[in-house]
Amino acid sequence: MTRNQIRITLLSGFALVAALIASRPVAAQDAKQPYPNMAPIDQYLMDRDAEIALARGASPDSISRDAEVLVLGRHGFETAVKGKNGFVCIVERSWTSAPDPDFWNPKVQTPICYNAPAARSFLPRNIKRTDLILAGRTKAQTDEAIVAAIDKRELSAMEPGAMCYMMSKQGYGGDSVEHWPSHLMFYFSQTNPATWGADLPGSPVFAMSDTREHLTEFVIVVQRWSDGTEAR
């Protein structure tokens, strides 16, 4: 199972998102392969200032104002703002952050702020994935290359304490799930989801496990957006 397939599982686990999906079943099922190929690169690019602002919106200003900010260029992510607190904020695109049907959806924009351990150990995977995609690799080729790099330890295991904020009111998760709930994510090298009580009835924790990448992500939905307004 690929990361993007796993995302579908996670999305169906989110109570808020499940309700959203349930309200749009016809639209989701009818839209078969709406994005079969990569769109022209320009469709994935953003105005630089808008991208910086969107990236910073992933976490409260008290965190993101001192964070490094990466923006997407034609060949990959580039540093737009130097940070000083170890956090890195970025607007990820469909090939790292959307379910399979939206893999090439150019509208997908998911703001994330990684803490320093995640910026060192998880973010490089998405940077590399983006480099490969923009260099013209297929989804399958990219997946293989990432897995190979992890197996060869060119991409590292998760550092202790690796986590990220995804609390932006803005952004676009994909056609089936237009907006993710405000949440935090915690990264671990392969861990049994049951260890955190994830995905059980009533549990506030959801998990995504990718055995090929030796990765488990735990998700906790929070009550507010990054600007402090109520999210539920």
């Binding site: 976490s59 409260p60 200003d61 008290s62 965190i63 607190n85 170890g86 956090f87 702020c113 803490n115 320093a116 351990p117 202790p160 304490g161 986590m163 904020y165 609390m167 935090l184 915690f186 671990f188 861990t191 049951a194 260890t195 955190w196 009580g197 059980l200 009835p201 009533g202 549990s203 506030p204 924790v205 906790i220 939905v221 929070v222 009550q223 507010r224 990054s226 600007d227 402090g228 109520e230 539920r232």
Partner: protein, 247 residues
């Protein structure tokens, strides 16, 4: 209730209590005067069935149904229910807060808690040790010294990665302040740096506290303890699935 008021519940319960106390009016009652010493042990004990039920309510039934449950006796915690999923549910008493917490001896505190397997293996032994020594009548400095010695001799374990606990019980009483309670998860880390998680910053949903003390000056020996931070993430439902107050 405002968000700041709710925050104060947690701040006074387990997080940054010093800041809260510092801002309280001088005329208010000082909790240290309210709870200067241990109360008679009976005041900390509970009916067995009630304690088991409260302990289990810390997590959704899907977790706690198969968890072990430990209960407080006159000499320490004992296993009341043997579980099969590696989780341990229990009701923490006031002395599981930081050693200089003003409610350290508050006999009303009932902190229902379900620890995941890594936390049960690596955090719970500290609770056992602390509780046994305090119930045996040892002073706080003596308890601190005994724990320090046990750590050095490796009689107490190092923190395991991924140690987490659920504190989602409607029935808990965490502090005399505010609404006394609120559902949250706690994640244990060996970092000394709150900023590593963006904790305690404006609008951050993450709060953090040192496991051992509020002020490093309170008990000098605690400064040499292994760093142990508790990160707290507020969640939006109680363990029974009902919505919690907005925080």
């Amino acid at each position: 209730m405002t968000r700041n008021q709710i925050h104060s519940i947690f701040l006074s319960a387990f997080v940054l209590v010093a800041a809260l106390i510092a801002t309280r009016p001088a005329a208010a009652q000082d909790p240290k005067q309210l709870y200067p010493t241990m109360a008679p042990v009976e005041q900390y004990l509970m009916d067995l069935d009630a304690e088991i039920a409260l302990a289990r309510s810390a997590a959704p039934d899907a977790i706690s149904h198969d968890a072990s449950v430990i209960v407080l006796t006159r000499h320490g915690y004992e296993t009341a229910v043997q579980g099969k999923n590696g989780w341990v549910c229990w009701v923490g008493r006031a002395w599981m807060a930081m050693f200089d917490h003003p409610e350290f001896w508050n006999p009303r505190i009932r902190a229902a808690d379900c620890l995941n397997p890594p936390a049960a293996r690596s955090v719970l032994p500290y609770a056992y040790k602390r509780t046994e020594l305090l119930l045996a009548g040892h002073s706080k400095p003596e308890v601190i010294a005994a724990i320090k010695s046990a750590i050095e001799k490796k009689e107490l374990p190092a923190l395991e990665p991924g140690s987490v606990c659920y504190m989602m019980s409607k029935g808990s009483y965490l502090t005399d302040y505010g609404g006394h309670n609120g559902p949250h998860l706690m994640l244990y880390e060996t970092t000394k740096d709150d900023a590593a998680w963006g904790a305690n910053l404006t609008n951050s949903p993450v709060l953090s506290v040192n496991y051992w003390y509020i002020s490093a000056q309170s008990y000098a020996q605690l400064k040499s303890f292994p760093p142990l931070s508790v990160f707290l993430v507020v969640v939006d439902k109680w363990s029974d699935g009902t919505p919690a107050p907005s925080m």
